[in-house]
Symmetry: C2
Subunit: 310 residues, 2 copies
């Protein structure tokens, strides 16, 4: 058994990201189908993807997080209830053997959210554990983390423990409204738009979306959304502008709702994709909060590495 | 030309409702495709639907409202800007002749909403004109109307004039979340549920959805939606319950946002489908407001009748 190399995998609903690691180094990466697209058992789907590495290095330890541990994944892992000490993630991982190699799957976390409803995460706990490994300053005191995405997670971290968290449907709802609603059917992108013009349009649309949320008062996102359509039809706004306006409305509503709920005053830590982090950081700055942006993939990898070591 | 009979048509995006009328009486009704489903010019699509009536009574005057007056409808009618006197709807209708019969299409209304965005309606103005004809008490003083539907309209009516209005995406967003999101994929309806159990489930789910919105505080609908899924997965709630919970969240957020915005204190008038009116009335009562429920189809017909007379 090769003990120097291992395979780290972040297996989400829509994508599998595999990395062949040697200690701190990533030697190679590969992508595969998400758990949502699997037509065969997860272990079988994985086999051809890692066959080359196995041929080169022999059976390799495999460490996974995300939907791999869900009911429809490889093997179901229990949720660690909050408050949850992320140093216990390794002990709580589900460990078994497959094709003569050890496999570990991270547990998810569960909590009762500040809105009184049950809430869960799978995968983000490993990213947070990775952030703690990469940025030890996070291990002391209280921090508000936000992991933006299809389902954004707002997380209260207290002395290295996840106290509680809250899921927002921001990314999924944005995609539904972009692809399936009447809001974006008002106009089609014009081929005349120059790249520069496009980017100005996008920046202005996003800004105006954030502004619109700031002036909503008691009104709801429901009452603000129709303007995405009407500003195209009646104000002559471009498709590009409207899409960014929609993004500003969604991210603005997400940030404005979460910040008071988590009593954040000075700073939040964003863990995610660079472009999305930037949008959230911008929305946070408008509320007077600083944002530290951490790369989501790097944090996942660092978290999987700590699981492997455990 | 037959002058006693006329055809009234409410031609929306998804459905055409035609009625053969003799004065106050409806002799026959018929349904056809919505403007969104038309593959031929609207006038041609209409011809076979009214051929029988024409054969029996000769060329008949035709009065239409809704998306028939949109760019993709029969002929585009201008929007009447608010504040708009609904008694002027007949004069503002677009009139022309087709197949030797007079046609009138109602104009839509436009305004700048209380949230500062351009807003429009097509069809609801005719329902409101009909409500004024059927319930003359609405013509004096100030009234808040709500026309729930795919795009709900909140309308401030002042001495028979529409002062302004606001569109909420409630129905469209509900359908998207029901049919296309991850929220309702958590479980499937059980065939073991009895009709009685179902109805209790639905009532409780709706109530709990309204309650959840009432305790949102600064949080947004975005933060409340994930519970539709998690309460199925973790609290064992049924598909039926969760669907009604989602409905309660959406209608609750719509009503809670609109009521303070329109400074409504005692009452609102609902114009729509019976079951939907009931849900909105329930949400209004929870805020201490009484609701009068008017039938949307009857109001549309009464409005088209006033257009025909004009």
């Amino acid at each position: 058994m090769n003990r120097d190399h291992f395979i780290a995998g972040d297996w989400g609903t829509s994508r599998l990201r595999l990395a062949l690691c040697l200690g701190e180094r990533v030697l190679e990466t590969r992508q595969g189908p998400g758990v949502g697209a699997l037509r065969e058992p997860a272990g079988e789907a994985l086999r051809p993807l890692i066959a080359g590495w196995r041929q080169a290095y022999g059976p390799l330890p495999l460490v996974l997080c995300g939907m791999a541990g869900s009911r429809n994944g490889w093997r179901e892992t229990a949720y660690l209830p909050c408050p949850a000490d992320l140093r216990a993630l390794g002990q709580a991982a589900l460990r078994f053997e497959a094709d003569e190699a050890p496999v570990a799957i991270a547990p998810g976390l569960s909590c009762t959210s500040r809105l009184g409803a049950p809430d869960v995460m799978r995968g983000e706990e490993t990213q947070i554990a990775g952030a703690l490994a990469l940025y030890p300053g996070l291990a002391a005191g209280r921090h508000l983390l936000c992991l933006p995405g299809t389902h954004s997670k707002w997380v209260c971290l207290e002395d290295g423990r996840v106290r509680d968290f809250l899921t927002a449907l921001t990314g999924e709802l944005f995609a539904l409204l972009r692809d399936r609603s009447t809001l974006m059917r008002a106009a089609r992108p014009s081929i005349d738009e120059t790249p520069d013009g496009k980017s100005d349009e996008a920046a202005d649309g996003f800004e105006k979306g954030l502004e619109a949320v700031a002036t909503l008062g008691t009104a709801s996102l429901l009452h603000a959304l129709f303007a995405v359509r009407s500003r195209q039809l009646l104000d002559g706004r471009s498709h590009e502008w409207a899409l960014s306006y929609l993004s500003g409305l969604m991210i603005g509503a997400d940030v404005r709702g979460a910040i008071p709920l988590f009593e954040a005053r000075a700073e939040a830590v964003l863990i995610g994709d660079g472009a999305l982090n930037d949008r959230y950081a911008h929305a946070l700055r408008r509320l007077g909060l600083a944002a530290s942006c951490l790369d989501g993939e790097q944090c996942a990898l660092a978290g999987l590495r700590t699981l492997w070591r455990a």
